[in-house]
Amino acid sequence: MASRRSVIRGAVLLVGVSPLASLAACGPSGSEPQPKATTASATTAPATAAQAGGSIVFALESDVINFDPLVSRAFVDRNAHYQIYDSLVRIDATGKIIPWLAESWETSSDGLKLTFKLRKDVKFHDDAADKPSKFDAESVKWNIDRYRTTAGSQRSGELAPIDSVDVVDQYTVRFNLKSPASHLLAALVDRAGMMVSRKAVEAVGQADFTNKAFRAGTGPFMLTEAVKDDHITLIRNADWWGRDKDGSKLPYLDKITVRPITSSEVRLTNLKTGDAQVMNNVAGKDVAGVKLESTLQYQEKGAYSYDSMIPNRKEGFIFNDARYIKAVAMAMDRKEILDKVRFGVGAIGYGPIAQNHFAFDPNFKPFEKPDPDGAKKLIQEVGKPLSFEFLVSSGDAVTLQLAQLIQAQLQKASIDAQIVQLEFAQILQQQTDKVFKGVALTGWSGRIDPDGNTYDFVVTGAPQNDPSYSNKEVDRLMNEQRQTSDEAKRKAALQAAQKIFVVDDPARIWYGFGVSQLLTNKKVTGLEPYPDRIVRFQYAKLAK
């Protein structure tokens, strides 16, 4: 039996018109591809030839490392994946999960079966001379099983709740779960839900596929060329199923060249000279300047990423006493950090649940005013002055400035933070081995579902629980929100847990949220930032 709620949700999204239309009204150019029902008539209509076509250069912060979603770990890879592959579901620009390759889905009442109805008009890029392979329920089963069972798969963790996958009919597929997992759907938005052509993988073999993933997806663009550290070429997929709000075929652009440029100054210069047209990561110090550039358009939106300081709460380490953690959280001036180091780009934060998460609580401001005196009192209560090693990754001037500002703020509460700069690789090692002495300055890139920003960081023994945090009530609440797909119940549990692991018995010190930025040449229209910070190029148009 499917739960009534999820059926309705899927159905509303399938019909789609109202939520999508309202979305289109607020986005710069309309947005998500329309459901099939509205496209039948549109296929005969001529494409908007005046604006279709053209090629652009996308300046990316570093080179794409792995094209195979199975082995990919780096955030930057997803900028390519989202153009090449479609996943079962996606999010809209507000962060809401919407139909994509799956037209609808339903969860059984016991939460143990998740059934997807698939689109019937999807083909893989792998045609070349002979016929392209078709996307159907068998493709989903093959992909999900590949992610779950291949040795060295980086997706097996995300798909761990799945016990088996059944092909119900050609366009219906069912995931049988080991236990209810409300966070699974959000994982299917990203790499774990991306559909790869079996033919393409088998043609080059699993080991080489990640470097030769040419014509391997179903997405709006096809990867046709990849020159390491130089550029990758994405060519328009003329057979893509997506339509814009007028029913015209997407995507518009003929070609995207992605150039990895690590220096943010040089990326920006490329935008200014017109050598590149799109970039998505602008340094805070440059934001005020780019807003004044007459040829460029800057947009931003709150992201899922957060900034945090990780204390080591293990026995024998100074932050084993949680009062010290709270003292640090109280002494910090989050607004000053945002203004001085981030140049006002981003948002103040107190916990890991971000503005675009359904469970966000705008009234949750436990450390709104810096309180060095309160922090001092708390430390006096412990009886020993607080002095600790503050691990900061080397090589970036802004990170060091940030650490120095925090150091100065803590000084006001007589807290002595000794900055130690280490390579990121070394900090990571110390965090994982749980041997760092004091605090590590490490953030999180953020996930679509609030579970992805919380669970693994605060539940006892969870893989990312670097502070060695353990709180029975937090464990109970966090598991409770995984067992139900009822958003209101999840929200209540998540917010209750957040209050504990931020204020009452703190696991970390959170102090800000990131921002999703998009800087484009004004000739490029149709793009808007998404809270996951990834560009959706299928909507981009280039003025002649």
Binding site: D229, E265, T269, F424
Partner: protein, 318 residues
């Protein structure tokens, strides 16, 4: 002579072996785990353990080294941990870009050093000399990344004479290739130019005071011939040593500049691989770099003999 060269070549083998042992040891001793860096912020212990096993990183170090050497001797340098690409092709396909940039920079540096250095020695303490000396000081002091960014801002953004970086293979677009070559080549050249220029200047000053120059002038040779044939050729020997070292260091020299100008060469691969603790790639780059260094030192030694007939490597039989 042939025997000398052969002996030098044979001697390279133990040196190269030693280099691989040292680089292997240094890499493994430096903190940081390649699998952890690859995993980035998501660390699922089960998949990390599986990956470590798959890459053989859970075996004892001597076993790992032996396995690496065994494969390397047969030309198999393994796969990159980060990108899973075979290591040797990734380096080989980047060599042309790095060599082009390095040689362009070197040519520029040596040509300018010879002209300006000689001029500055001949007109000692003149305006030209002071300017050149001042320039050398600035050149040595300016860090490459700073100069590179400055050049991009000035010549790419303000004047728009050159593109702000990137690379096009020469065979595809010769003009585009050369236009993109200018700024990074100048950036790299500036550091070595300063050193080379000073070397030419002081060597020339030294030579110009020698008796044989006075003799040459006394026998009525034209000044240009005195400078070019008698002075410059003798002043070249120390420069050849310097340039030889610079040729060997082309890969290291390109590391920062390639990153700034997004020039897809070996230097940039080295940076990414070191940051990612990508052991197989770093080991191979160190080896290639060491071999090129040894080869260029050999070439320098052979050049000496040509420049100065008094130096000979032939076995004397009496």
């Amino acid at each position: 002579m042939t025997q000398y060269v052969l002996r030098r070549l044979v001697l390279m083998v133990p040196v190269a072996l030693l280099v691989t042992v040292i680089s292997f040891a240094l890499l493994r001793l430096s903190p940081g785990d390649p699998v952890l860096v690859f995993a980035g912020e998501e660390r699922d212990p089960a998949s990390l353990t599986a990956l470590r096993h798959e890459l053989g990183l859970d075996r004892p170090l001597p076993v790992q080294y032996a396995a690496w050497l065994n494969h390397a001797l047969r030309g198999d340098f393994g796969r990159s941990i980060r990108t899973r690409r075979p290591v040797l092709p990734s380096i080989v396909e980047r060599l042309p870009a790095t060599l082009e940039l390095g040689l362009a920079a070197l040519t520029f540096s040596v040509t300018v050093a010879l002209f300006v250095g000689t001029l500055s020695a001949l007109k000692r303490n003149s305006a030209v000399d002071l300017l050149a000396t001042g320039f050398t000081l600035a050149g040595v002091s300016l860090p490459g990344f700073y100069l590179g960014l400055g050049l991009i801002l000035l010549f790419a953004l303000v004047f728009r004479w050159f593109p702000p970086g990137g690379y096009v293979p020469f065979v595809e677009d010769p003009g585009g290739n050369l236009r993109r070559l200018v700024l990074p080549a100048i950036t790299i050249a500036t550091g070595s130019l300063a050193v080379n220029l000073r070397q030419v200047r002081s060597a020339m000053l030294d030579v110009l005071n020698q008796d044989y120059i006075r003799t040459a002038r006394a026998k009525g040779l034209v000044e240009q011939v005195v400078i070019a044939r008698h002075a410059l050729k003798n002043a070249l020997i120390p420069l050849v040593t310097l340039v030889g070292l610079q040729v060997g260091a082309v890969i290291e020299g390109a590391i920062i500049t390639e990153t700034i100008f997004f020039w897809p060469g070996v230097g940039r691969l080295a940076v990414d691989s070191i940051n990612g603790r990508d052991y197989p790639v770093v080991q191979a780059i160190v080896l290639v770099s060491a071999l090129s260094f040894m080869a260029s030192t050999l070439a320098v030694d052979l050049l000496y003999a040509w420049l100065d007939p008094r130096i000979s490597y032939s076995e004397r039989r009496t």
